[in-house]
Homo-oligomer: 342 residues x 4
């Protein structure tokens, strides 16, 4: 019998992407989808591309074995906490359980966390870092799209202690990262043919990046600048990460950088170290993270580039990867499809 899955707030892009991917999952059946405002409508009325999924959007979630929450932050915690109490395993796409320090929520998300005690039990769902904890987790906090790309790019450098603490993450994201909610920024005429930086006073994904970098190597107190940019494309995040190599590790960086990355991600199904600079399009619709590490010998700096599809490895795909780990399915189940290119 298949595992019963439900999606809370299926009407955004993370929610609909979960539905798309779960449809192809051999061990899971999507049985319940909820949506604020769209309750009572057929799923296909909102998303014609999901016409093969015969479900009606409801206000409340049916009984499920695994619940995915694609609610916005704050609202997500409210809907998830009762489920967790009932013993239902939950994967939260929102930020509500990603940060371990409850004090970060008022600072970055403008609300007081309703259940600080739960934060320590929630597992940060980056499988490449926390696989065994995820397997046992009741509540998985699915990483943000930017942190996913940045952390996978930086982890080997940090783990190996190759770099000084100053790290720059310059990220370029497609428009779907800001969701399906209408905004002038995401209006076609404004977003097309243009690039701009935003959140220059500090983006909410910064504390998440810092928290996890510290976990990787407690000896490093990272000082991170993270500047996100909006790019005229629908899917994809490319992060260009810069960090100076420590004087005494320059020789290693020069000769072994790529090998260090290959070793670090050995056996990982979704991380690929590339020989050529990757384009985000090479991940379109797939759960891959492509990483291209470069040593800039002129300046002694590591330049690490990563590419993901923000809706898959950066959201719904990673959530399914987490579910697979939690329930003992093959980690690639439901995620085997190759990127759609071009």
């Amino acid at each position: 019998m298949k595992l019963k899955a439900g999606i809370i707030n299926v009407t955004g892009y993370a929610g609909s992407e979960l539905a798309r991917l779960l449809y192809s999952h051999p061990q899971v059946e999507l049985v319940s989808v909820t949506g604020r405002g769209a309750a009572g409508q057929k799923l296909t009325a909102v998303f014609p591309h999901l016409a093969d999924i015969d479900l009606t959007i409801t206000a409340e979630l049916d009984k499920v074995d695994i619940a995915f929450s694609a609610m916005p932050h704050k609202a997500s915690a409210e809907v998830i906490l009762p489920l967790v109490k009932q013993g239902i395993r939950v994967i939260d796409i929102s930020a509500d359980f990603r940060l371990k320090d409850a004090a970060e929520y008022p600072a970055w998300y403008d609300f007081t966390h309703p259940a600080p005690a739960v934060l320590k039990d929630a597992v940060y769902g980056l499988p490449e870092f926390h696989r065994s904890a995820i397997a046992k987790a009741k509540l998985v906090a699915n990483p943000g799209c930017y942190p996913t790309g940045a952390l996978l790019a930086l982890a080997p450098l940090v783990k190996e202690g190759l770099i000084y603490p100053d790290i720059i993450v310059d990220s370029k994201s497609g428009v779907s990262g800001s969701g399906r909610t209408l905004s002038l920024t995401a209006h076609y005429c404004e977003a097309s043919d243009s690039v701009s930086a935003y959140s220059l006073k500090g983006h909410r994904h910064l504390p998440e990046i810092v928290q996890e970098l510290k976990n990787i190597n407690t000896a490093l107190i990272p000082s991170v600048i993270f500047v996100p940019h909006l790019i005229p494309m629908t899917r994809g995040i490319l992060s260009t990460c810069y960090a100076k190599i420590k004087e005494d590790r320059l020789a290693v960086a020069r000769s072994e950088l790529k090998k260090i990355y290959q070793n670090y991600y050995k056996g990982e199904a979704f991380v690929r170290i590339t020989d050529q600079p990757p384009g985000t399009k090479q991940t379109w619709g797939s759960n891959f993270c492509l990483i291209h590490p470069v040593f800039d010998s002129r300046t002694g700096t590591a330049v690490i580039i990563s590419c993901i599809d923000n809706l898959v490895k950066g959201a719904a795909g990673q959530a399914i990867q987490n579910m697979n780990i939690m329930f003992g399915f093959p980690e690639k189940a439901g995620l085997e499809a190759l990127p759609v290119y071009p």
Copy 2:
């Protein structure tokens, strides 16, 4: 044991799309890929998104059970004819065996057909029209991308004898329709932010459309104008088809147009009659054809809109659908993935 498949000229977009889709096919193994100029390279060196397929591009095709040719016209016939003689079943993505009248080739394709006798045995591979013949075919001529969308849109009207012979097909295609070969027309700076019509003196897909419409209803001598347009997107064809309803069929058209379409395509896995005007993006990466029939009561005209992904239902996906029929596999095998949206 899996069926062994090969792709001749994998280095274009139809070829790489075949590889992508075959990778997910449960009954088929891709064992050989050829490419002019790229022989000796790993497939992944040309197409990084296909990194999970561990094949080297060769000059000649290995022994296979089914060969797909994605060669350009004329060259395709040359490479296919020896295979057919050897008894290998072949699906030809090119136009070389689509037209039954050999005299059309010099007129539309500038070459004399090398094997006119083979034309009558080749089966035009539009499964919704010729399923039983495809099942037995040695050589399937995979339809052109424009004819696929136009024919599926027009067939019920023509079959039911609802319309006068004057038919207009106004098609809008993404740039991948012109392939991976470099051209100023497909240069990003020229193609983006612009729409233009082309082939106004007659596009090569016109005789194919006319031939098949005649097959559907020999009582209709269709007079077709087909105007293709280039649209700034990568994938997708939307065809808007116009035909006046016969005076004595106006009442039927007014009340039953949608039902006629639903009946005509009853049981078809990949054709969907939509309630809302469809967008090409709703088919991205999938084998669906979405059809939206409208009766314009002001003028007594049928306006039929169809959307496909030109690289899937318009090329590689339809080829796999044909292979499934030829070898008795479920018709959706390898084609179950939902469209990637947005």
Copy 3:
């Protein structure tokens, strides 16, 4: 002394485009701009590209010699009628004074026209058709974007009586045609990489096209289908118009179609008959209308293609052309800049 111009509702795309173009006009000074909701803000705060125009958006229009209204329909009439009474000359970008028959307004625009008597005095502002009336007009109804392209494409055919009454206008528009107001349709992720038809039950621009075609040749009772499509680009409309040539005019159409168009638009500064199929990008930012007439000899049909920039010749540029005519300025004043390409 320069003519004083004002823009009512500068905060949309037609309004901001008027400001951009007026800035370069040698005989005109933009002195007042209004905006619902944005009153009190600097113009540059809303539109950074207009930083060289030092104006504050106000709630009410200052005293001007010429007022442009870029208000939505219905609201536009309300704000314009008092101005007209005061003797201020007005150019209305909205549809409120385009249709001569007041009964069309409830049918197509869902409101009862507040001043039917004024309709007959308002002049339909297509300079190529009504130049002398525009020169004397108090109130010019600036044409819709689609009608501009369609009418310029069809006029010579209709005037010369070359065609039967059945006319098909298949138009492809960039997203800015639907304005700056937020909508899911215009969300980047939904609009990019997709084409769709809309308003299949009848678009509001249809009665406008029909009205003006009748004016050109009262002997023709045109039967028009108009199907607009949304294209993933910001600016531009390409209209492909189809009409069968009368049996007894086939020879003329075959040999003289281009010459007929050249003669009809002889001396027109902004209409250009092209040898090659034009792309909308060739008009980007300019007031040109490119027309490419083709005779399809297989079917005896005229296929006429026109391209405009919907915000310029389809809105703000044409409004300035009308102003130039009204005030005796050179017709190209302020409109000399070449298209920005690529």
Copy 4:
């Protein structure tokens, strides 16, 4: 009498953009355009948007007062040197006279410079840095597109000695930066919906950036990493520049960064310090450079963002600005048009 201008190699995007802009210049007449391969064709046959310019492309340049060379590097020097000897003033869009050290040419451009002695007389044509030298120059080396944006962003920081020598320039460019020459990278299907970094081993514009930074402040030995990225848009470069503020200048940076920029560019017609993060689209078709300086107080780093239109301020517009300075025209002549937005 107007100044007579000629364009060598008008058939690329820099060349055609020069023609577009010169057409609007009140003091200049474009009298001669050359093109490899296109000689004998009308300019409008290659560029329909330039139909108002009635010129035939020739193999050799006619007699002119000012010659713009839009030839590729190496070829440009060959064609320019004889002109310079004849006393014709020349503005070179290529890189051939930008670098003062002849030894850089074999290292970065793979050729031995044919006239090292001329390098010292050529003036680097960034007007905001070298206005008075440009006024007297016989030969102006027009800056590269990336250096223009990066240098304008960094100059005030460097001049004021605010920063440590480590500088990171992360640039995002539209596809027209790679010109009109066909390449797979610029193929619509490959470039759309994707972002990628390139030239990770060192881009040719790096030595140019370093040379000019050293000129600004000889006390700083800058250590620059420059990583260009290809973005799916036609025009525009956004550069995000990172540099740590010196410990003893943190207070100044915190409180006066914007003011320092405003003072530095006081009176500059084309440089604008913005309050909000700018988008490249706000410069489309114009000669503006928008700069947004930010002090990141968490890390003590200056983050400076600049936006230009790479074909205007990054090439043709800057060339015209240089010409205006050389001939004593108002610096904005021919460059007054506002950006075309959206």
